[in-house]
């Protein structure tokens, strides 16, 4: 195996023999030497032990390395970037503190909000309870009984109700009480329109309707057909929250019943993913994990919406490549489009908050997507609200998207949402 001119010592021959690099002739020579040299025999024993200690030492690279190479070479869709240590630390900090802290805070707010809603809607506060008999005590006779009205107020209102000229004063007082109650329920601010209403033909009946929390608005319209129609027939939603706000100016309404009940909403997510692994998101954080929707109120409790968004998902799936099954971990960014249903059980008394439950179903390029969430809408004005809540998202994807086999995998996300809505 070696050139004839090259001289090999016995020790060198021994090492070469154990490495399988000696010719038959050289091996014969070595064995003759071994038979007569105990020191060489000891060397051989040690070299054999050393050689044995090296066995089975080939190391298989982690599967993620292959994906990194393929992605960097552009042979597969770029799904992940190898982040720097700083990015990893930042992602870890954000993931751990921001997501979990915000989720915990949102959960507490939701529990408090729903709890307060159910409590307040099942228990009338003593303050309001005292006011209701006061207003309800007004006579419901067809003719407005000034004296009765005045008497009703005599114990509670320090105005001179004996003088018929002071009827208006009495009405104002009643309107004022009515206003107090309504204000606790929402955003009612006007008493001038109430007065107008009270001066109408069947003032006492209207009076009673006002005092019973506007629950039968249709009756009011029958009583006073001239009453403004400038509000929705629904209690909730950006367009309808301040239903009793009679002073609103009616807008030009080309599609009555549609435009009035239409709103647009925007949300951002911060969610924990399952599966979860340390992959950096696609480098477009601004447009990741957002949703835009158009919502139409069907009635005071129900609404439907058309929604779409862009979202990042961490995916884990097995892929068969040439008979070898690889497990892929990848970060996928994609758009989705779907339909949603929203349920608003009612408003929370005395604060401008409306709880909301929603479910959505849609499609992405990889498979169907489902969402379910609960949140609170806080109305800053009757046309604008802020939203916060929790949401669960399920993305289902098919391996056939990535190979010829058909097997379904899922990614679950759970986290908080923040956003806002604007009514038309």
């Amino acid at each position: 195996m070696y050139e004839e001119t090259e001289y090999l010592s016995s020790s060198e021959q021994l090492v070469a023999f154990l490495d399988g690099e000696l010719t038959q002739e050289e091996t014969t020579t070595l064995f003759y030497e071994l038979a007569n040299n105990p020191e060489l025999q000891e060397q051989m024993r040690q070299h054999v032990q050393l050689k044995n200690s090296f066995k089975n030492t080939l190391v298989t690279p982690p599967p993620a390395l292959k994906e990194n190479i393929l992605a960097s070479a552009g042979l597969i869709e770029k799904t992940q970037l190898i982040g720097s240590n700083a990015n990893r630390v930042a992602a870890l900090l954000i993931g751990f503190f921001f997501n979990k802290f915000t989720m915990a805070l949102t959960s507490l707010l939701l529990i408090a909000g729903f709890g307060y809603y159910f409590y307040s809607n099942n228990h009338t506060s003593p303050e309001i309870a005292n006011e209701i008999p006061l207003v309800s005590s007004v006579s419901v006779d067809s003719d407005f009984d000034h004296s009765a009205t005045s008497d009703s107020f005599s114990n509670n209102v320090s105005s001179d109700n004996n003088d018929p000229k002071n009827n208006r004063s009495g009405i104002e007082q009643i309107a004022s009480v009515s206003k107090t109650k309504k204000y606790r329920q929402g955003k009612f601010t006007s008493n001038a329109d109430d007065i107008t209403m009270l001066n109408s033909k069947n003032s006492s009946e209207v009076f009673d309707q006002v005092s019973t929390n506007h629950e039968n608005y249709d009756k009011m319209k029958e009583v006073n057909p001239s009453l403004s129609h400038n509000f929705n027939d629904f209690k909730f939603g950006p367009n309808s929250y301040s239903r009793p706000d009679f002073r609103r100016i009616k807008p030009v309404n080309l599609l009555p019943g549609i435009i009035d009940n239409l709103s647009v909403f925007f949300r951002m997510y911060g969610a924990n993913s399952y599966p979860d692994f340390n992959l950096a998101n696609e480098s477009r954080p601004i447009v990741n994990n957002i949703l835009l929707g158009f919502r139409h109120n069907l009635n005071q409790n129900h609404a439907i919406s058309l929604v779409g968004g862009v979202e990042n998902f961490l995916m884990t799936f097995d892929k068969n490549e040439n008979g070898i099954i690889y497990r892929y971990n990848q970060s996928w960014n994609g758009g989705w489009l779907g339909l949603g249903y929203h349920y608003t059980p009612g408003e929370i008394n005395s604060i401008s908050m409306v709880p909301e439950l929603n479910i959505m179903a849609g499609a992405t390029a990889t498979g169907p997507i489902f969402r379910a969430g609960a949140g609170l809408n806080y109305y800053i004005t009757d046309k604008f609200y802020l939203n916060g809540g929790l949401e669960y998202v399920l993305l289902t994807y098919n391996e056939s998207q990535f190979s010829s086999n058909t097997k379904w995998f899922t990614t679950n996300k759970f986290g908080y949402t923040i956003g806002f809505g604007i009514g038309f």
Partner: protein, 188 residues
Amino acid sequence: MADKLNQKSDIELCKMLSSDKKTAKLAFDEIYQRYSQRVYTYCKKYVNNQDLADDIFQEVFLQLYTSSSKGIEIKNLSPFLLTIARNKCFNENSRLSNNTTSIEDFDIGFTDRNYLENEEISNIVNLAINALPEQYREVIIMKEHLDMSYQEIADATNQALSNVRIKIYRAKEKLREILEPYLNDIRD
């Protein structure tokens, strides 16, 4: 297609890397399957650092793809990959100055048992290899971990065959010297 790829030579696979993406990916998969373990083992054993080995390993295969896609002809793929890995490992080792254990400092401590477990043996041997001078360490990794022949090592390291043989002999003698106190404790 997979069967056909198995039968293709390294040269043919390298040429396929410059084809369309689908073909290139299939060729890459086959090359990766053939040589990834060998290259990764070399990197890991040589730099003795997981993250660094991962980075170098990825760079090696990326460089292979880049070179092939540019039409550069690669006649002997295994030495080509190992040469790239070797150069990158050299650079990293130079940058990190010295991450090896000197032979004089070599000490694994004592054990009460009269034999060593497999993992202990592996650790001791790895420490001993790391204690070798770089020129010996390289050939020992190629010979004993990658199971390369003397000729393949000579090709990969661009040395004469006799040089490789001498280096391997000296490296093994050094290892035997280092590990002599422990060799009797290694169970068969």
